[in-house]
Amino acid sequence: MTEPVPVGGELLSEPRETRVLPRRIGAFLIDVAQILAITLLTLLVLPLAAAGLLGVVVFVGYFAGFDGLAQGTPGKRLMTLRVVGEEWQMPPGARAGVVRSVAWLLDGIAAGLVALVSTLVSTDRKRIGDRIAKTRVVDFEAVRLRQVEQLPDDAPVLEARGVSKAFGGLMAVDDVGFTVPQRSIVSIIGPNGAGKTTFFNMLTGLYKPTAGRIVFAGQDVTASRPDIITSLGVARTFQNIRLFGTMSAVENVMVGEHSRMRAGVFGSILRTPAVRREEKSAEEKARSTLAYVGLAEENFDQIAANLSYGDQRRVEIARALASDPKLLLLDEPTAGMNTQESARLTEFMQRLRDDRGLSILLIEHDMKVVMGVSERVSVLDHGEMIAEGEPRQVREDPRVIEAYLGKQSENDDGGAA
């Protein structure tokens, strides 16, 4: 793996002035000229290519001896193709047919090549694209996320009370309750299978809790639909990255903006000025969000699945940020990262909290990250909350040590991070 760009890197280019008018007119003229050229070329090439292929078919058909191919069935099919009033017919003799077929085919191919080459030569698209990219004004203000609003300062952004989830007889999460204060980072830790991700899935509406209440920003969101919870201001990432693999990084982030956009079916079909503006600002916002999380600009339009692992994590965080959340849920964001990368991510989380007033709920295995960044830590084991408090207290709690390291007398079979 190449050395990744630091998470939370600075904007890559300083905002510059927008494009000037003359350049626009020039670009427009180039557009028109190229469109015309291609139209004319295609008009010319198509019949030639068609004639060439037709020749081959006749040739093959002639030698294969399919009378049917040539004459068709009488009655319905008996008709003629008239070209300028004359009946067009296969010349007598196979030799003439061969000569003609080959000539047509070569003609068609040659014309096609001419068309393609001229297109390639006349358009240096990359350079034009670069020029536009350089003059794009990155609007930092558009990235700035909405602050937690209309909520008293001391009220928690998220409050869970007695939340339980049973799968059949198995209690995956049992009577868990805790709060996330505004502008804070809270962690949930616990061994594998402790019910952390299940708890996340309930917070985001993917699972319905068997019992309990979940209140987000003063609103009861227990068992609400995931999209409604997202539009209220909860966003998440996934433990095993779930990007839309065949979409570009920018498109992925734009999907994240879905709940903040308005365009409907008819607006999209007609592409009304409002819809066009919205699309444009959504794309710009997506690009500046990607820059904010530190993705290199040349990767913005890459297909997500082709990005490196670290970059995929960045895109996932950008996609979550795109919905302007008040609360960000991160499910093991440092999985697969080395110490250095984890440290950068930790710093980035603090920056999110301080710059944007976000609250972050974190599931994490890496103790260094958890202890360094969290204000409060909750520990789950077998679906139950066994400890809750400041990182230092939790670390020394005997039940936590037991859950992670096993009892002193038993074998230590892993689980410690």
């Binding site: 557009d31 190229q34 469109i35 291609i38 139209t39 295609t42 008009l43 090439v45 019949p47 290519a49 004639a51 292929l53 078919v57 006749v58 399919f66 049917g68 191919l69 068709g72 319905k76 099919r77 008709m79 193709l81 008239r82 017919q89 096609g112 393609l116 297109t119 698209r125 509406g205 639909r225 995931p226 999209d227 409604i228 997202t230 539009s231 966003a235 095993n240 990255i241 990007l243 839309f244 693999g245 065949t246 979409m247 498109e251 999907v255 879905h258 903040r260 365009a263 079916v265 079909i269 007609l270 592409r271 919205e278 699309e279 959504a282 699945a305 082709n306 692992y309 996609r319 919905s323």
Partner: protein, 403 residues
């Protein structure tokens, strides 16, 4: 002396070559794509000038164009949103039935036996039954089919993958049976359909400012179908590059992640069903008028598969791919098998016609395409990446990163 003049090859080759070229150009340059599209449309519109106005070739062309409209509709449901729909024939049936009700003497009691006439030409003014202008019928057909689309969509919302296919299959079959047995179903003294016999004759398309279409002068039909394709192409490409299109593709890729990113699954899926169905209804109304009959034999399960095969052959989700797939299969079905190669088996001493093997041949073609080119003839950019292996799966990535 061999005369090849009746081959529709120029038509097919034109479109095929144009699309291949266009795909290439579109990838390179947006302006080139526009220029090329204009050229293709000009050529497509010019094709009837070279054809007899009532011959077999133009008949085949019109049907191919109508199929393109349907395939593009199905492409939204299957290609964009990834919801496998095996009952698409239902929307063809709904559109055709609307045309049958609103443009024939079928509802004979309408207007006290004298008929009701809305914006139709004088020739039809004296006929009994309901007679509504074709443009209005088209609108009604689109609306009815879209509602049908929502209805078929509702029970599938909680399902995934294969199970959706089964429910839609059943829905298509229900509509087919309903049309078949509708002649014994009487509502308020009016039969629901005419069963196998069919509702016939149907009013010919009658557009404002033009002569009513005739059955021996087929060029106007061709141009009307082409106009519908342009409309559908436009809607298709606009939707693909919109908020809604992104949401569809997101759902196709990963439903859970899509929901977590704020996409309302129910509404978005129903939108796909409704939009796709609307095009099916549109095409159904046109075909009903063109075939001059609405009968039960048109609405078979095999037809759903036929349209689906067009979409898959051309390339799921790829607009131009679907167009080419529809044209190709349609011509194979209505020209190559019955007219060109039909007697090949008997010539080599076998005792059957090739038409008896039609679906076997489609199946064979599909298998060949799936083996050689699983992404379809003109694949969508995304799906090509997905299938050619240049996209590593997420698991491999994690493995790499941890190693």
């Amino acid at each position: 002396m061999v005369s090849i003049v009746e081959l529709p090859f120029p038509v097919i080759v034109l479109i095929f070559g144009a699309l291949l070229l266009g795909r290439y150009l579109a990838r390179e340059n947006r302006r080139a794509a526009i220029g090329f599209t204009v050229a293709v449309v000009v050529w497509a519109a010019a094709v009837p000038l070279f054809l007899d106005s009532s011959g077999g070739v133009i008949e085949d062309c019109i049907i191919a164009l109508a199929y393109v409209v349907m395939a593009l509709g199905l492409n939204i449901v299957v290609g964009y949103a990834g919801l496998l729909d095996l009952g698409y024939v239902a929307f063809f049936a709904l559109g055709a039935l609307v045309m049958g009700y609103l443009g024939s003497g079928f509802v004979s009691s309408a207007g006290g036996g004298e008929g009701i006439h809305i914006f139709v030409s004088e020739a039809t003014q004296s006929l009994p039954g309901l007679h509504v202008n074709f443009l209005l019928v088209l609108v009604v057909a689109v609306v009815v089919a879209a509602i049908g689309g929502v209805l078929i969509g509702l029970p599938t919302l909680r399902l995934r993958g294969d199970y959706i296919a089964i429910v839609t299959l059943a829905f298509g079959e229900i509509i087919g049976r309903l049309v078949l047995n509708g002649d014994e179903l009487v509502v308020g003294g009016q039969k629901v359909t005419n069963g196998r016999q069919g509702i016939t004759p149907i009013d010919r398309v009658d557009l404002p400012g033009l002569e009513p279409f005739k059955s021996l002068e087929l060029k106007p039909w061709y141009w009307l179908a082409l106009a519908l394709i342009l409309l559908v192409l436009f809607v298709n490409s606009r939707l693909r590059d919109s908020r809604l299109g992104r949401a569809w593709i997101a759902i196709r890729e990963d439903e859970v992640a899509a929901a977590s990113m704020g996409i309302p699954l129910v509404r978005t899926k129903l939108m796909a069903y409704a939009t796709g169905a609307a095009f099916g209804g549109m095409s159904g109304a046109l075909l009903a008028s063109y075939y001059n009959t609405v009968n039960a034999d048109q609405f078979r399960f095999a037809f759903s598969i036929f349209i689906l095969a067009m979409v898959i052959l051309g390339g799921l989700g790829s607009i131009w791919g679907v167009v080419i797939g529809a044209v190709l299969l349609s011509f194979i079905n209505s020209y190559f098998i019955p007219d060109v190669f039909n007697e090949v088996p008997s010539k080599i001493g076998l005792d059957f016609d090739l038409t008896q093997l039609s679906f076997g041949i489609f199946g064979f073609l599909l298998v060949i395409v799936m083996v050689l080119r699983p992404e379809g003839l003109l694949p969508e950019r995304r799906r090509k990446l997905e299938l050619t292996g240049s996209v590593a799966t997420a698991d491999e990535d994690i493995f790499e990163a941890r190693a």
